[in-house]
Symmetry: C2
Subunit: 433 residues, 2 copies
Amino acid sequence: MEKKSIGVGLMGFGVIGSQVARVLLDRQEHISEQAGCAVVLRKIKVIEPDLGTPKAKAVDSELFTTDEDDFFNTPDMDIVIELIGGVNPALSYHERAIKSGKHIVTANKELIAKHGSELMELAKLHNVSISYEAAVGGGIPLIAPLQKDLVANNIDGIYAIINGTTNYIITRMSSEDIDYPEALSEAQNLGYAEANPTKDIEGIDAAYKLAIMASLTMEIKIIPDDIFCEGISKLESRDFRYASELGYAIKLLAIARHSNGFVEVHVYPAFVPGDSFLAKVDGVYNAVLVEGDLVGKVTFWGEGAGAKPTSSAVVANVIQAAKKIACGDTSYNYWKIKPGKRVKPMPEIINRYYIRMTINDKPGALAGIAGVFGDCGISISTALQKEDNIEEKSAEIVIMTHPAVEEAMRAALNELNNLAVVKEINNFIRVEE
Amino acid sequence: MEKKSIGVGLMGFGVIGSQVARVLLDRQEHISEQAGCAVVLRKIKVIEPDLGTPKAKAVDSELFTTDEDDFFNTPDMDIVIELIGGVNPALSYHERAIKSGKHIVTANKELIAKHGSELMELAKLHNVSISYEAAVGGGIPLIAPLQKDLVANNIDGIYAIINGTTNYIITRMSSEDIDYPEALSEAQNLGYAEANPTKDIEGIDAAYKLAIMASLTMEIKIIPDDIFCEGISKLESRDFRYASELGYAIKLLAIARHSNGFVEVHVYPAFVPGDSFLAKVDGVYNAVLVEGDLVGKVTFWGEGAGAKPTSSAVVANVIQAAKKIACGDTSYNYWKIKPGKRVKPMPEIINRYYIRMTINDKPGALAGIAGVFGDCGISISTALQKEDNIEEKSAEIVIMTHPAVEEAMRAALNELNNLAVVKEINNFIRVEE
């Protein structure tokens, strides 16, 4: 029952959508050869027809439609590529496509993170596939390796630098010794950060991607709301200086790992050892370190965004989907969610911590501070007292702790805040070894 | 036409074979769930039955056979895993398996590098698949990403640190400032280098892996004999010191790239920029940088050898093969070799070069040397004269050139050798930017 030609419909014709259309049209022969059958772009759904732009002129105008029904009623359309982004109206488009037996290829991280599990249930029911390689890490092969190539492993943990905007800002703060506002505005000027950068800066974008990777590999349904999320806006250039002095780099990490029967999922800035691989991932690059019980550590590194890299992942998904449809292979990859697994509550996680505070420089100040840690059952591994400000009679203290429970750490921070000698707790950052 | 159970036969029960058997047996439920059908180990071919070892005791002794016919006549054996290594007798086993309609999974880099193309022709004829993820980079997903996830791209180049033994030795020479013999014997003591390390040290092992990646991605049949191959044994610790001073690291690189209608394939030690990703790949780790015209640069990093990582790749291949067999998917990945592409002859390649030589320290020495480069049409970008040995009246000169044709460079080296002022050309190393 071989199909000789596979039809594709595209929803969205922005920067990424138009790039995908271009690859599908320009490389049709190559794509069809790889898929083992003709792969034909049949329809493009746009919000408004803007046929005068160069990107639209490169496409046969007959392909465009603004009408949803017209799009979904296109004959011989086996695969729908959704590149609109966001939950609405994308969710309803996904449902409509699935219910009419069409396979889905998407780069929509928010939708898959929030509704992936239900969409896969629906897809299973209607015997179609959902592919979302481009939703995580742009063109870097990540979903397929996790789905297929590492599938003999139990995945112990995922440690990801998965947001290029924040990694660019962090890299600049670290290498140029500039503060957050300056680095952010530099990133905005270069087009690496949006005018409203909240989703990137606060780690929400990273949490979407983490939710997808965790749901895929850890047999638990993780939605963004399950993920403890802390952004980079409170980092200061002096934190990077101390990190470097102590042998670390600071990175915004998205972490998913098994931990005593629980699953930990969080996004936060973390100290990582200076000689580690993740410490060396600079600029807008992404890297995802996967720990499997057979493979050990493997890392995938590359550009995590951009129209061309994203089109690489989208079109690869289209080719694989077309290949399967053409030869009647219905063994699709859905998330394998099992009951009984739970997310570890944040107060129970165990980490080492870095704390930086400003104190009144009096005799016995450090002793009082150290006493608070002791009372909370937290051991100190390193303490630095520095930079006396003689006029203000203040000093800066940096503490690195041994592993401690987050709850105890928060109690200690509360007590420190009440200590007369402590003027301000400037920052506290978790440490990943 | 769904098959409910897929039978597997295993050839080879050494370190890797026994590990694979263990994973297949211990994780049978997990593997079968992933494959969507039962995956059952039916037979293990060994040279001599050594049923007393712990690894053999962990396996039902009924599974072992020493007899080739007995092995191949095992009923319901759909997949043969070949973990013997080398060309003979593995080649004949592959042919026999294929001709009897069995799918192949192998970690045999030498066989696939030397005979992959013919074996795939044969496999095509008999409608079976050949999977060889474990042949390159141990457990690092490489073959599947190149075969599937990056398939929308034109692959422009592959730059690989793909031999853990040499990378360990190089890392030690560089970081500890020790010379080659000491680093080699250290690697041997740690089990990272074999007693006879020739295949690793001379780049032959890396060439096997490069031949496979190039044949897979560049539409040309590359066998190891096509690959210019230079090992690491002539490197000295002072080369690493100069490299560092000039802002570079030295790595044994396996390179395949398109170049003006030709394909370049070579393995040699090369200067790579000190801030590049490949410069940071240390110890026994492997990393493969792939450049695609859509995806840009992506890099895959991890442990390139070892029983557990290798078993991760082998079992993933078994699961994917079983899945396809079970649902009748016959869209296998063979190399797409096209006529007309040729390997670029080594004298025609263009590189920058590093040359280190010992000279008689006389007035005009450097001028004479620079003159030779000029006569051969090679521009010098940097020249360092150092370390006068007053007793021997000698000095060391290091030259970095601008891009030059290899043939011109070799002519220059010949002329330099004939120059009275040159006592010895100590090393010459290519530079990859």
